[in-house]
């Protein structure tokens, strides 16, 4: 066996290790039902959940709890996933500034007791990149 063959085999071994390890690290998109089930089985790996905020008649999100006066690092809200399961979520950080306007919320974390502990929140907001509405900026007017 030539040295170059050993070298190539070493490369393949490292590449395989990378693939395996990435597969182990990769997270999944789940609903709250599965997140609860995982927690019940003692599986504390972090998952992604995509959901929406429940809103009242005036389109205001309901169930947001953030009082910086008492604790600036505690923000709790309710998220409804695509299977319509609602779940209380706690985020130990200040409330993201544009949270109320977000159309879709992606959280990562895991269930702890009765609440979902989120360590990351990704917001998907309307009008994020493509400007479609002329009146949005209140800058347009007829010449």
């Amino acid at each position: 066996m030539k040295k170059s063959h050993i070298f190539i085999m070493a490369i393949i071994a490292v590449a395989a290790a990378i693939i395996l390890s990435t597969t182990a690290d990769a997270s999944v998109y789940v609903g709250f039902g599965e997140a609860r089930q995982r927690a019940a089985e003692g599986n504390t790996t972090k998952v992604h959940v995509v959901g929406k905020l429940p809103r009242d008649a005036r389109k205001q999100p309901i169930g947001l709890e953030y009082d910086p006066m008492t604790d600036p690092n505690y923000f709790a809200f309710t998220l409804v996933d695509s299977t319509h399961i609602a779940q209380r979520v706690v985020y130990n950080n200040p409330k993201p500034q544009d949270f109320d306007a977000s159309e879709q919320v992606v959280i990562t974390g895991c269930m702890k007791g009765n609440v979902f502990m989120a360590d990351n929140i990704l917001l998907k907001c309307p009008s994020k990149y493509v400007k479609k509405d002329l009146n949005e900026g209140a800058t347009a007017s007829v010449k």
Partner: protein, 869 residues
């Protein structure tokens, strides 16, 4: 409305496309079936002419697009969506490439420039290389073509009119010639000088990867399998330097502007450039190996092709919308995914097929390398770089797997790792260790005759010193109460070894009277960067963590880290050796150094103008007098935070920013940090949450009280003394005229820490009464002088209160981050030196035949040191 400029622009795009097609075909025909240097002259002339036309057309497109932005022609979607009336001229340049079309244009422009350079400096290779160039230009221009062919939209034109883009607006029915008065503006995050120079640098780097690729393809096509390395090498060096600097510029911009707490977030958009850069650097090592030691040619071919294909893949990732939720800052999806995929597919398949068909003909070195050959270590190093690139590529592509499986009808739910930083770091750290060690070993061995004795002699000193330094570092880290993991110890050791070995190489070479080695300087820079990253990212310390002392047990028993601290306005809070005070909100005023307190400014109906309520004076110079109109930039509010070092008593102020940003997140506020730089560390501070500066404060119902001069009233938690009534003097914004009567009360309000003057004003004009309330912003108190009873000497005041002002803040310490920036600078200098040493013979001078040079290289192999990249 000016439709002409857009029509000229669009025609120029079409002309550029057609000319690129002619140039590609012409160059192809000129070289087809002929040896290198023996081109068909008539085809060559045609192709050259076509490429000149192409260049002129591209320039015309750029001029037209810039005119549309500069002249505020909002009838065009591009100007309307990326610019506005208030935008300073220097940022109009950034508008140009904020959109996808403009950034494609920038890329196209750089490739035109490089094409002309090839025509001038690499005559012998012109025809086949420029055939590839023109082919790539053809695809790139098609991205901004904006024509519909057989029902399929090809490209997205930057010259599209607003009415063609937003077709459903009702306003077009009433007035088809409607033109908005103002644009929606450039994303304020991009209004930063780094965004003026970072994209051109990056796209120049992108464009430069085409040069070695085009040479490699030309070489495979013409079966000139060895001669291409010499002309391609200097271009690859420039590419490696420019792309590397471009990546770090982007990182520095993110550090200064975004608020994720660092300079690198492993965002797919960042990775998309990092991956090809790693492979580009690996290919560079392959080329140097062939040029100097006649080995590694197949590797060079494969890596040069891989670099270019990865650049195309990066373009596909960031511009097709496939990343979706995974990235916060990819481009808008313009519906070009199919076109991008074809582009990627065509070039990947053709170039790989060509490479495979010629693979057996590429010469290989017969010599079996052993541990005393530096070539072996360079080769291993390049392999490690590629493995590192593969790791990032494999993870970054997770959204692509989902999209692909969805495309073939299988639903998958794989997501990116929940903790991306930990995931990438655990691999990239070890890549750094190996790269730093090998760079040191290979640099030392490259310049000397190697046997057991010389290698041991040369490596002993740096190894011992690095071990000593690592031991000291570990002790110092422990002494400061921190822990250090074995992986960090290894990186420290490798980084120190890399620094010492490369420094030693430079020193030895200079002593021997040889020119400064660019390669050793660049490797020294890389080793310093690794140490800087280890210190600043590995030991980034959140100094605002758990400082409030209060603990609210909610759902959890265990103690959680609470990273943010609440600061009331003008109240001092202790934080990790500092006394912190938030002292108010500030605006940026063009022309005035520093920031101006909002309390000095009286806002008007025009958002961009305010009146000075008091003289605006900085360092003895008065910029505005009371009542002057002041131009302000209303998007940005700066929160002044005073830091006082408890031990030394030293003070400094930081101004973290909250920016009203409609683009990133539905009219949200975006925080940008403020950074205080010390030689050994940075203090990095951003606001996490503030009271929305745009919203009117909700004031309580005013409570009335009737007072005489000298009386005291209670205002919630505070009290105020009504000292006097006097003619109003601070009348900015009142526009007092003759005959008007203006009186103001002088109230002294006692807060927790200091006293405030409040001057509510009462005006009588033409028997009409006006009232100007005064506000003590620190206390959230507003006083109005409602009525005056001159006979009884009684004055009626209205008192309203609001939420006291506060900020929620996060602060971090970044140790030794300057090592990273200075390492980058050294790396850039190293690349520059290499280009100069090599470029003198490779790029500019007329080329010679490859054969004698091979002998020369073999002859000088060990005898005499040569400059190597």
């Amino acid at each position: 409305m000016n439709l002409l400029v857009g029509q000229i622009g669009h025609l120029s795009v079409i002309l550029a496309f057609a000319a690129a097609l002619v140039a590609a075909y012409g160059y192809f025909q000129a070289s087809r079936g002929r040896a290198l240097g023996d081109e068909d002259q008539s085809w060559l002339r045609l192709a050259r002419g076509a490429f000149f036309v192409h260049g002129a057309a591209v320039l015309s497109v750029i001029v037209c697009l810039f005119n549309i932005i500069h002249a505020h022609r909002y009838e065009y979607y591009y100007a309307w969506s990326h610019s506005s009336n208030h935008l300073p001229v220097q940022y109009m340049i950034s508008c140009f490439w904020e959109g996808q079309e403009g950034s494609f244009l920038l890329w196209i422009f750089w490739q035109v420039v490089l094409g002309f350079c090839i025509m001038k400096f690499n005559r012998r290779w012109e025809a086949p290389v420029m055939a590839v160039f023109s082919g790539v230009q053809l695809f790139l221009v098609s991205m901004i073509l904006g024509v519909v062919l057989g029902g399929v939209k090809v490209g997205s034109s930057p010259f599209i009119l607003l009415r063609e883009f937003l077709t459903d607006l009702p306003v077009w029915k009433m007035n088809p010639d409607f033109v908005p008065k103002d644009g929606t503006g450039l994303n304020a995050l991009l209004q930063n000088y780094w965004m003026v120079i970072h994209p051109p640098t990056l796209f120049l780097g992108f464009a430069l990867t085409l040069v070695p690729f085009a040479f490699a393809i030309a070489a495979l096509w013409k079966r000139e399998l060895t001669a291409w390395v010499k002309p391609a090498l200097p271009w690859t060096l420039v590419g490696g330097g420019v792309l590397g600097v471009g990546v770090v510029m982007g990182a520095y911009w993110a550090y200064e502007t975004l608020n994720f707490g660092g300079y690198w977030n492993w965002d797919p958009v960042e990775n998309a450039v990092y991956i090809p850069w790693l492979v580009l650097v690996a290919s560079l090592h392959g080329l140097v190996l062939w040029q100097k030691r006649r080995t590694g040619l197949r590797t060079s071919f494969a890596l040069v092709v891989a670099t270019f294909v990865l650049i195309l893949y990066a373009t596909f990732l960031t511009r097709s919308g496939v990343l979706g939720n995974a990235s916060v800052h990819s481009f808008t999806d313009l519906g070009l995914s199919g076109q991008l995929l074809i582009y990627l597919g065509v070039f990947a398949v053709l170039s790989i097929a060509l490479l495979v068909s010629r693979w057996k003909e590429i010469p290989v070195s017969e010599k079996e390398l052993n541990g005393y050959n530096p070539e072996l270590w360079v080769f291993v190093g390049a392999t490690v770089l590629c493995l590192g690139a593969f790791q990032v590529l494999y993870t970054t592509s997770i959204p692509v797997y989902n999209a692909f499986m969805g495309f073939i009808g299988i639903k998958t739910n794989i997501a990116l790792p929940a903790d991306q930083i930990a995931h990438y770091s655990k691999f990239q750290l070890w890549m750094g260790v190996v790269v730093a060690l090998l760079s040191g070993i290979a640099q030392i061995m490259w310049w000397q005759r190697n046997n057991k004795e010389t290698v041991v002699n040369a490596l002993t000193a740096p190894t011992l010193l690095a071990l000593l330094g690592t031991a000291l570092t570990v002790l110092l880290v422990r002494y400061n109460g921190l822990t250090i993991s074995p992986a960090y110890v290894m990186l420290t050791l490798a980084g120190l070894f890399g620094v010492l070995a490369n420094f030693g190489t430079i020193f030895t070479l200079v002593r021997r009277g040889v020119r400064l080695s660019g390669g050793a300087v660049a490797h020294l820079g890389i080793a310093l960067m690794l140490l800087g990253i280890l210190a600043s990212a590995g030991y980034s310390n959140i100094i605002s963590r758990n400082v409030s002392g209060l603990l609210y047990s909610r759902e959890f028993d265990e103690e959680l880290n609470r990273d943010n601290v609440l600061l009331w306005r003008n109240e001092t809070t202790p934080m990790h050796g500092y006394q912190l005070t938030y002292t108010g909100q500030f605006f940026e005023v063009p022309g005035v150094p520093g920031y101006v307190d909002k309390q000095f400014l009286f806002r008007t109906d025009d958002d961009y103008k305010a009146l000075a309520r008091a003289p605006i004076t900085v360092a003895g110079k008065t910029y505005y007098k009371t009542g002057d109109t002041v131009n302000i930039l209303p998007e940005n509010t700066y929160y002044r935070i005073n830091y006082k070092d408890v031990k030394s008593g030293e003070q400094f102020a930081l101004y973290p920013r909250a920016q009203v940003n409609d683009e990133m997140g539905g009219g949200g506020l975006l925080a940008s940090p403020a950074i205080k730089k010390f030689w050994g560390h940075d203090i990095y501070t951003h606001v996490s949450s503030v009271l929305d500066p745009r919203k009117e404060k909700p004031w309580s119902e005013p409570k009335e009280s009737v007072l005489a001069v000298g009386d005291t009233i209670f205002l919630n938690d505070y009290f105020a003394v009504f000292r006097a009534i006097e003619p109003a003097h601070e009348t900015a914004g009142l526009n007092l005229q003759k005959g008007d009567l203006a009186l103001q009360a002088d109230m002294i309000v006692s807060g927790e820490h200091r006293q405030y003057h409040a001057h509510p004003v009462f005006v009588v004009r033409n028997r009409m009464v006006g009232r100007v309330p005064d506000e003590v912003e620190d206390l959230g108190v507003r006083l109005t002088l409602n009525a005056i009873d001159p006979t009884a000497g009684k004055f009626t005041f209205g008192v309203s209160t609001t939420q006291k002002d506060y900020v929620i803040l996060k602060a971090m310490e970044k140790p030794f981050i300057n090592l990273l920036w200075s390492g980058t600078l050294l790396m850039a200098i190293g690349f520059g030196l290499s280009v100069r040493q090599r470029g003198g013979r490779g790029a500019v001078a007329p080329e010679t035949e490859a054969a004698p040079e091979a002998e020369a290289s073999a002859g000088t192999r060990t005898a005499r040191p040569q400059p190597v990249s």
